[in-house]
Structure formats: structure tokens, C-alpha cells
Amino acid sequence: MLMNLFAEIDISKLFGLAIRTSIGVQAATFALAAVGLNLHYGYTGLLNFGVVAFMAAGAYGMAIFFTQGWLGGSIILAIASGLTFAVIIALSIGLPSLRLRADYLALTTIAIAEVLRISFRSQRLLDLTGGPFGLPSIEDRNASVSFADVITIDWNPIGKGSYGTWFLEFDEKTLWIMIIGWSLVSLASLLIWGLMRSPWGRVIKAIREDEDAARALGKNVFSYKLQSLIIGGVIASFAGIVRAFDMGFVETQQFRPQTTFFIWTVLILGGAASIWGPIIGSMTFWFIIIFSEELLRQMVDSGWIPEAILESSDIASVRMVLMGIMLAVLMIWRPQGLVGKKEEAQIDVR
């Protein structure tokens, strides 16, 4: 029986696809967003459930600036405007709500992220954000015109063609975005590593451990929290921008609350409050997701799992079920994740 199953499964494809995704652009953007969240939650202890708001701010800030052609529509200025938008969002989340208790902060951030998404989606902003259709407009998309072209075609140093072998074969566009994505992940991780060794980082960690003690030592807790929110938010907004370049368009569907929880799962899987946590978390997360999806698909296709239990059209939903299980199980049995330290992963309402 068991031999039979192994004969049916294409092991090469199984590992090929899983590895492909775990080093791909998606894994890079999730890692990048998780680096940002790690500063918020892992180091500062801020329960930010609105990570996706920063990603949306970055992506939309960039896309709106570019498609409107403001200031000549330079892509560099567009990216800068995306980052500025993320800073504005960080300030408008942080200034009023950072004094709140942890669980109230969680509710506030998730609500603000939804407000932002629904506003972008609104018919009233159709000319600016493209409403439910996103940016660029449907006509431009049909003509394959996108803000991503500057990055992926004009500024692409890699010659046309496909590189690599086996399942790890990428065309020049994907490869270039992958390089950009993972470079940003490395830079952001280096930044966090440096910050955490600085006096600033020690204050941040002290706030996580005992806010009142930090305050008693004369530190302006509120200001440090706000700085952490801004730095992490800008890192997360880069994730949104890279993702927009990869997909070639932005749409509100990409910024539903579930994306936030994907990133939370990535961070907790890898290990909060550790430099390698987000990177290892994202790669492992995508490996597990794609591996199990592909395994299920092959088992359903070969008749090992009867249609009554799972239909092949439902397999895409399995990733969400897996995400849910991972999040719950990790939180219960291994809150420090794969590489985190247990004593740094204890969280509580202050």
C-alpha cells in the first residue's frame, strides 16, 4: 500500500515547487514585513495587528504617485512617497493609540488597517486609487503597462532569458525582483541587528520587559514606541512596494486582514525577538505551505484521497487552514518559534 503511494508521488516536483516558493519573491516580501513586525512586537512588545496597513500605504503611496504622474512620475520619488505615506500612517496610528493597553492596541490597529483598505476601495476615490479595480487601470493592465516596468525592464541589469535549472528556473524579471527583495531583507535585518546592539535597542527591549521601570529611569516611553512603530512600519511598507513590483499592480484584495495574520504566523514560526526569526520563518512557512498543498494535490489527483474528503478545487483553502493550525499550535507549544529565545517570547498585557 505504502509503496504504491510513493510510486504515485512526484517527489522531485514536490520539493522543487516548495523550495522555489521558499526562496521566491513572496517569501522575501513576507520576511521583510515580518522584520518590521519583529521590531514592533518582538522587540518593543507592541501588539500591531495592522501590519498590512503599512504594506498598503507603501504600495498605494507609490502606485498613486506614479500613475498620477506627479512631479514627472519618477519611480524613485514614487517609492519615496510610498515610504512617506507609511510614516504618516505610523504617526496617525501611534500618536493617539500607543498609550492603550495591548489588546486595545490590537483592536485599534486592525480597525485602522481596515479603514484604510475600505477607503482605498471606495468608489469616491476611483480616480485616485482605482477603487475595487486597483492600479494601474484595467486598460493599462490589458496593454501590459505598469509602474513595475521601470524597475523590471528599464533598470534591470540582468539580460533577457531564464536562469537556473530544475524547478528553480526564473526569468530575468523575477530574478531581479528576488535579488531586490532579499537584499532589502538583509539590509533591514542588519539595521535591526545594529539598532538592538545600540543604547536605543536596549531601551526598546526594556520597554517590552517593563514599561514602568523604563519610565522610572527617565526614558520617554511614548517617544521610543513611536520611533519603533515608524521604523518597523517603513520596513513593512517596503514589503508592500516590492510585492507591487512583483505583481505589477496593487489591489485592495492583497491587503485583507488575513495578510497580517500570515505575517504573524511567519514571525512566530521563525521566532520573535531574533534577527534570523523572520527570514527562517518566512522560508519555512512557504516551504510547509507549498509542500503540503502540492502533496495533497498529488494525492487527490491520484485518488489517494477520495473526492468526498477533499476536492482538488478546495486545496487552495487548505493553506489557510494550515496557517490557522500553525499559529495556534506554535503559540501553545513553541511560542519562541524555531530560533527564538524562550525568555524573550513571553508576552502579556502590561
Binding site: D103, A111, I118, M320, G324
Partner: protein, 430 residues
């Protein structure tokens, strides 16, 4: 004690009675077609023999009819969606489309009930007279519909608030209990055939299943974890994981298509003074109202209710006063998720049953309980009513897609200004 119990059982019987009589009356005017309808007229003047056509979002004509002797027309449509209704005419001498108005009206049919469409015509004196209903009548109807939504949100959020009160857990999986109730009722209706007059049995079974789910979650997951001294923040993250697990299991086994309860597809409205609602809505309002009063009495007048409020106020003190805290928490879970199931079934009745319904109502419920005060059952009732009412009534002035913004904005403002909510007590906060 005797009178109290009698009072509460009286209310319970009332709920049951309403539930049972519900399909008998509500089913009476079931016409089995989804239609767009209207009357072609100028003021009180009826215009017969004017052609009206309906086309779908792809601009394909799907129906056409001449207005009758009474000016009325009714065109069946295949399903929910966006339709364009065009008044082709001919119109009598001197009657024209009002300046600025169009002979085309785009409508979105998002409920299984026939949709009324009017054209703005003016007579020779160019005085605009159309209004099938006057503005205040439409506003009044919006408000009644807002009341209905508010009652259902209140019903569904009591559990969320009570569970927070007694355990400190912000339960993100609560919304999936709402969806669970609706899906179970739908499943019972379609598979076992609890349709028509048997439908209340399906509702009761769904509510019991909801209570069972609450018991299972507390017994199997949250109770043991709480005793393991896991922090509430970690438990909140666990509940998020659980919410996704449940939501997507519902998607896998229930399917992505929104469905409606077969027994109550489309109903024409019944007028009660200026208010025109489908019959089922009157029943939904009555059932929700009586249930809320029953729960209120239960909390105020019974020993169990008193201990629920005591544990919510101060668990340590409650324990030392001889209250079995764990047993109380268990009952809160059972009651809360049973109410969530009931709310979900009723929401499914007024709208559709779909796997995303939990996700859609989650933030509305959070807004409701934060507005009313996290941890208090009465706060959830007041907050639910206010949030549901405000967001539904806002569609009178605002675009439909902005109604969530109202709820979210209220929630953000409340959290920032008065995080304990309108009925909460300040000292409980850090």
C-alpha cells in the same frame, strides 16, 4: 426565586412560540421568483404600456415588459447581481425624464427580495413628482432595518463581551461561531429537510450545536490553556489561528457560493403604517428582542447570571465567595456561543449564508462591544444596537461600501477616548 424563574421561562416560551409561528406566517406570501419591479407614473398619474427592459452587468438584455393597466411592471431576474433598468417608453405627450435624471437606473440586487425601481418623470408643468415613498418614509424604513441589524449584532456580540468579561480573552473565533450557527441551520434545512413549518427545529438544533461548540472550545482548548497559565495575549493569537481554521473548514465543506434558506427566499413586503418590510423581518425583530430581554433577565435575576456578573467583575473575589468560577466560565461559553449561533441564523435569514459571514461581522461585533464596554453583556446589547443602527442608517446618506467605516470609526474613537466603553467601569483598565 419562583417568580423570577416563572418570568424567565415565560420569556423562553415566548421565544419558542415566536420561532414556531414564524414560518407559518412568514411563509404565506412566498413568491418563488427574484424580480425587479416598479410602477411607471408621474405623481399619481399612471402610465400604462410603457416598455421597461432589464439588462445584466454584461449588457445583455434579460427581460422586457410593458407596464400594465395600473402602471406596474415586474421582470424576473436570474439571481443576485448588478442590473440596469431602462425605461424605453413611449411616454405620453408632455411627460419627460426630469432634468438631470436618467432613463437608466443601475441597481444592485444583493438580497433575495424583489427590488423596486422608479424613474424620475415630470409632467408638463415641469414640477418633479416621482417619489414612490417620501424621503422621511424611506428614512424610516432604513431606520427600522437598522434596528433589525442592530438587534442581530447585539445578539451575536453578547458572548464576545461576556467571554472577555469572565476570562479576559479577546476571542477572534467568536465570529466563526456566528457563521457556524447559520451553516448548521442551512445544512439541517437542506439535508434533513427541516423546511417550512419544520424550520424552527433547525434553528433550535443550530443553537444547541452552537452551545455545544462553545462547550467544546472551553473544555478542549481554552480551559486547559488558561489553567496552563497562558497569557491572554497568547490565547488571543490562538483564537485567531482557530478562527482561520474554522472559517476555511466552513469554506471547504460548505462551498464558496452564498446560499439562502430555502424556506424564506423572497417575500413581498407587508406594510405596517409607513413601514414596509418582509414578514420574516417582523419575526426576526421580535425573536431578537425577546431573546435579548430573556438574557437580560437571566443575568439580573438568576443565580447563574449573578455569578457570571460576579466573575466578570472580580474572579478572585467571586471564587472566595464560593462561586465555582470554572463552571461559570463554562456556562458563559455555552450561552455566548448559543446566542452567536442564533444571531448567525437570523443574519443568514435576512441576508445570505456564506463562509465569509463571520469575517464580515467580526469587526462590527468588536465595534459593538468596545462601544458598549468590553466585558459587560448589557454594553454589548447597547453597543450592538447602536453600531448596527448607525451603520445601516448611514447608507441613507453614504455609499453602501462606506457603512463599515462608520462602525470602525466609532470603534477607533471610543478606544482612544473612552476605552472602557459607555457602560464600562474605568478602574478595570491598566
Amino acid at each position: 426565586m419562583g417568580t423570577r424563574l416563572r418570568l424567565i421561562s415565560g420569556f423562553l416560551i415566548l421565544v419558542m412560540g415566536l420561532l414556531v409561528s414564524f414560518p407559518v406566517f412568514a411563509n404565506a406570501q412566498n413568491d418563488n421568483e427574484l424580480t425587479i419591479r416598479g410602477t411607471v407614473r408621474v405623481g399619481k398619474e399612471i402610465i400604462p404600456d410603457a416598455r421597461v427592459t432589464v439588462s445584466n452587468a454584461q449588457n445583455i438584455e434579460i427581460g422586457s415588459e410593458l407596464s400594465g393597466e395600473d402602471g406596474k411592471w415586474e421582470i424576473p431576474i436570474p439571481g443576485l447581481g448588478e442590473y440596469t433598468v431602462t425605461l424605453v417608453g413611449p411616454l405620453p405627450e408632455g411627460v419627460v425624464i426630469r432634468d438631470g435624471a436618467s432613463d437608466r437606473v443601475t441597481v444592485i440586487v444583493d438580497e433575495y427580495k424583489s427590488k423596486a425601481v422608479g424613474f424620475q418623470l415630470v409632467g408638463e408643468d415641469k414640477k418633479p413628482i416621482l417619489e414612490i415613498q417620501s424621503t422621511w418614509e424611506r428614512l424610516l424604513n432604513r431606520m427600522v432595518s437598522g434596528l433589525k441589524v442592530g438587534l442581530l449584532v447585539a445578539l451575536a456580540s453578547i458572548g464576545l463581551s461576556l467571554i472577555f468579561g469572565v476570562t479576559g480573552l479577546v476571542n477572534f473565533a467568536h465570529s466563526e461561531m456566528v457563521a457556524f450557527g447559520a451553516v448548521i441551520a442551512l445544512l439541517l434545512e437542506s439535508t434533513i429537510g427541516l423546511t417550512g413549518a419544520l424550520f424552527p427545529i433547525a434553528v433550535i438544533l443550530a443553537v444547541m450545536a452552537g452551545g455545544g461548540l462553545g462547550y467544546g472550545l472551553e473544555r478542549g482548548i481554552f480551559g486547559p490553556l488558561r489553567r496552563k497559565k497562558m497569557t491572554n495575549i497568547s490565547l488571543m493569537v490562538v483564537s485567531i489561528g482557530l478562527a482561520f481554521l474554522m472559517r476555511y473548514l466552513i469554506l471547504i465543506y460548505h462551498g464558496a457560493e452564498p446560499e439562502t434558506f430555502e424556506s424564506f427566499r423572497i417575500q413581498s413586503g407587508v406594510s405596517l403604517g409607513p413601514i414596509e418590510l418582509p414578514t420574516k423581518d417582523y419575526f426576526i425583530i421580535a425573536i431578537a428582542l425577546t431573546t435579548l430581554v430573556t438574557v437580560g433577565l437571566l443575568l439580573q435575576r438568576t443565580k447563574l447570571g449573578t455569578s457570571m456578573r460576579a466573575v466578570s467583575d472580580n474572579p478572585a473575589l467571586a471564587e472566595s465567595s464560593g462561586i465555582d468560577v470554572n463552571k461559570t466560565i463554562m456556562w458563559v461559553w455555552i450561552l455566548g456561543s448559543a446566542l452567536a449561533s442564533l444571531g448567525g441564523t437570523m443574519i443568514g435569514l435576512t441576508q445570505v449564508v456564506e463562509w465569509q459571514m463571520g469575517e464580515k461581522i467580526l469587526l462590527l461585533m468588536f465595534a459593538a462591544v468596545t462601544l458598549g464596554g468590553l466585558g459587560t453583556a448589557f454594553g454589548a446589547m447597547v453597543g450592538g444596537l447602536a453600531i448596527g443602527f448607525a451603520s445601516e442608517t448611514s447608507t441613507f446618506w453614504l455609499d453602501n461600501d462606506l457603512k463599515f467605516l462608520i462602525a470602525l470609526a466609532v470603534m477607533i474613537v471610543i478606544l482612544l477616548v473612552r476605552p472602557q466603553g459607555i457602560l464600562g467601569v474605568r478602574e478595570r483598565l491598566g
